[in-house]
Symmetry: D2
Subunit: 347 residues, 4 copies
């Protein structure tokens, strides 16, 4: 077999970093040659993530000690905001899949507004490609820098984009009532993420100011051809993994729920990871946990002209590291399902 892709994971001590390692250990064409984790530099993977201790993986290092000259690909799973400078400093031959939010928003003003500071790598941002694989596959293929999308934007955009493209639903008044598992908030200890504070109950958070809102709206605007404004309401659910979105939209005049379902089927029936559920079956996050699959259901609303879309995915896989590997597979012309063949883990 040909030479393996030499791959570095930056931010390997977070959950998306761990997921990249979990998945890539199964990839026949990838070799992990470097891992960065500033606070854990010098530690083994076994110390940071005991579940991955049995694999032969590099020791964690500080970023500036890594040898990028001998790398082909970097997965960047650094915190939002710290990424721009790091990626700007990489040698030009290195391709990048960035799991942070740093290169997702094309409009620098919007970036500055939502993230509170000017973007530090505008030139790179212009070349970045949004990485919802099923939607932007052609651009991903040749991209040097893929901005891997957020979990909420992936879950929301997959059902809505085909419907806006084909003008089946109104672009106004879309409501996304979203529910996330707790791993979406990362591994840094915070009081609200403690077991005692989050188990056995649920809450809403960041209503009206969640940073995934402009990312969703950018994706939908691409599809609609106009600016789209959504109501996005995130909730925190006592589960480790999973995004569940319940989306309320209005059919355009004369359009039907059957047409909606047909459009989604036409878009996704050949896709290996996006599945439109048969009429009558409702999604559950349990059915995709640990896998790169997304399930979408279409249900008529109780009032005339309303359609309800429900989608589920694993925020750490299709919502982050799984889609990152899927994008890598596209970038290198591999079978898109390589390293992503594991079935969901249930129960």
């Amino acid at each position: 077999m040909t030479q393996k892709i030499r791959t570095i994971i930056l931010g390997a001590s977070g959950y998306t970093g761990a997921e990249l390692m979990r998945l890539l250990t199964l990839h026949p064409h990838v070799e992990i040659t470097g891992l960065s984790a500033e606070r854990h530099a010098g530690q083994t993977v076994a110390e940071v993530f005991p579940h991955l201790g049995i694999y032969n993986l590099p020791v964690m290092q500080q970023i500036d000690t890594l040898d990028f000259a001998r790398a082909d690909l970097v997965f960047c799973a650094l915190p939002h905001g710290t990424t721009q400078k790091v990626i700007a400093g990489l040698p030009p031959h290195v391709r990048v899949v960035d799991l942070s939010a740093d290169f997702r928003l094309r409009d620098p003003k919007q970036y500055a507004q939502w993230y509170g500071h000017e973007h530090q790598a505008l030139a790179l941002q212009r070349d970045a490609v949004m990485g919802i694989t099923e939607i932007y596959r052609a651009q991903v293929k040749s991209a040097r820098l893929v901005a891997n999308p957020g979990c909420y934007p992936t879950a929301s955009s997959l059902p809505l984009i085909p419907l806006l493209r084909e003008k089946l639903i109104e672009q106004d008044g879309i409501i996304i009532d979203a529910k996330s598992g707790i791993s979406g908030a990362g591994r840094m200890p915070k009081q609200n993420l403690m077991f005692t504070e989050s188990a056995n109950g649920m809450s809403a958070y960041s209503i009206g100011n969640h940073r995934h809102t402009p990312e969703i709206e950018q994706n939908l605007a691409d599809a609609a051809g106009h600016a789209v404004h959504v109501t996005f309401t995130p909730h925190l659910i006592p589960m480790s993994r999973g995004i569940f979105t319940t989306i309320y939209a209005r059919l355009r005049g004369g359009k039907t729920v059957d047409q909606v379902r047909a459009a989604l089927r036409a878009t996704y029936d050949a896709e290996p990871f996006v599945h439109i559920l048969p009429d009558g079956r409702l999604p559950a996050t349990h059915h995709v946990a640990g896998s790169n699959h997304a399930h979408i259901a279409v249900v008529p609303g109780a009032v005339h002209g309303q359609v309800i879309l429900l989608s589920v995915l694993d925020n750490l896989v299709k919502g982050a590291s799984g889609q990152a590997v899927q994008n890598m597979n596209v970038m290198y012309g591999f079978d898109e399902t390589l390293a992503l063949g594991q079935a969901p883990l249930f129960p």
Copy 2:
């Protein structure tokens, strides 16, 4: 002190039955004189609910062996559908708080449509009073039969009724995205309620056909003065207790979110159990668990003219047995908070 209210609980082996016992053991004016549980007849409370085994409570009996002549009050926590005949057969001096759905819908046609059979006690149904205490207190006071409301209807109606009454929001297009803990489905073993099937993930269910829909619409129609149709989407969340509703409504022309908040404050600020959260605080089911309290928050929507209402309560307390005790307190002229003074249990 005067003689205690002699109280019988029918359906004492379910969760709402257990909650009635839990609360009433603290009530100074109530004596539990009988418990029914058909399949558990002959068993002690300690056998059926070990957490209540330390209390001196009657042995479970079959309904037809209970002496209703010596009872003042019956809490009826039987399964939906079986209740009508039982209540119709009670002596006329016995007052009833019915926790089933049997007497909630005033329109017999609607009852037949949603429950699949004709109502068996129409005369009683006409006299039944809806038991959302804060809204129907005057009628509850003198009622013989209180139809204690469902958990979803209580959580949905508390925020919406004042707004519809005062014509602050449009009566069309209301969306109730509702989330329930698993105890809402009762204690009868079913596969989807198993730990292995429901823990660590979430799902939607009964979209478009949940039986609480007409009950909510009846409450809202009372307030609006017209028929109201809502979109009601229930979800199952891996938590033992709790209802969380996220309600999307549109302000009527010229009305503001501040007016909405002020109307809710005016309605509930003197109430012991319904609390409007200060601006900026979002509710969590953890903060009401085990208590009879409901928390409501008001948030402006992302699009012009939209308001988001969020409410939480414990489905087994304010959503069932706690409100039943509150109604009993009203019926007998007791302090409305008797036996309901326990603070929420957190963590």
Copy 3:
């Protein structure tokens, strides 16, 4: 009614502080006149513990701004180690129930060995009384300073003390396999306490070096009349509250499991909070959650001469704040169950 006990809670922003507030709001003879929380000074209870926001409680203050001259009683729920100096500085008229470990170990050498520094208030330590209420009630009654025991020591000592006192079991070879809910580790965010790290799985920790070991051994030595060494193995279980101990002991020659059960019954049958389960019933933490009750079961071991003792309690109630209130009731001659009458919360 007579004047209320003016009570200050130090360390009110932790879980045991919150539990003290939850319970004391129901106490007819107690008034909370001060709350301390260094990092939260200036915040209301509603901000720190939203579930207690509806009560009329003082604002959190720094300790040195509190007026101890006008207080009768202090509950001290400060972190281990910081307590000694604070208590040493209190006016002599103030009685103290200390929930930290600072005054539990009578032997200063042992304290220094397990806590890594010399004890700072040796005079006070000599007068401190161990507060397992059922065992040390007479001393608690007249104590100025009660050292409220830890959750593991309470759960372990309640079943073992009567058996060692009456020489029914060997004092050697006792094994305590203990399991704790996550609130036992406090409210300070740490990675291993995050939902994502602790939900849906379990682990062992601190085997051989948990600081509750000498406390258990001191209690058992009191009962046995000799030094006792135990094997104590703590585990972390994905539940918010609860201690479960599985204790393996050997019967002394000629002694029987029936005698063990009888001795426990004789010790506890008149107690309001400690319950020996009937033969055949095994304990569950669910059955005591939120309450001050402890359940104990006795089971014959599989090998000759072995007896297995199982005990459960809520670590934040009988294992901490509930027992602290129980001790206060004893200290002031109140009915010992005041403010502790709430039934367990199940499910």
Copy 4:
């Protein structure tokens, strides 16, 4: 590549059946040609296990409609007791991995005593091979019928067998304090397995009469060369998957904890699925969930001559279906890790 093994799964609607499907979809040399599920006959896998709906798997059938003549291998995941007759009726060319308990106990008297009826297939039982792969690999290789071990016996036997073989520990007085996730009890709805009854708390069960006890003792007797009697105490933990055993044993005279650790390392260091943790690291079920790995730690006890062994595995994988696949790989001379290469799923 050569012809695939034609494989039938009996009892495909239970959790171990689902796990077999999950794993075997990744096996390059296996084709699933039949699935049985009596109550679900006629249903698709998508209906019974939506998480597996995307795979091209046979429809569920009743056993007597399956064509065993064209099968090479049967995985039998039927309930205990029903299996004997089914396996006895299979054509002789079909090899069998039986996940039930039916063929695990070699002594028919013991079988009758623990299972309450005479064994129905004694001839087969004599040829059955115990399937703890690492211990009985040579026998498994040529077996026609492998009795796949239970989850508790695997978790208990892996650490104990090498120590008994090498006479490092006493064979008397072994205590196995075991903790299981809830999936170990299967998918049939029962009250104690409901989320509401088992989440957020823990309990003990079947002390002294759990059917895995004789199976453990048989394994240990094989290793010790004498009958061994253990104290086995199972607990139910609120986690979907996972077995955690805490084993207390006594070193034989002059033996040390270091020798114990060395013996386990010598036995397992070349094994792909059994890992002896480095000194100082304690196991957690999270670190093996979803995988075929087992972790074992060795800790000195608090009293002289005591050693504590801790082991974790996923009860549905190494404790059931994963080990079944591992045994199949041995039986057919495949690489033993085929279809078992997935890393644990954390968080």
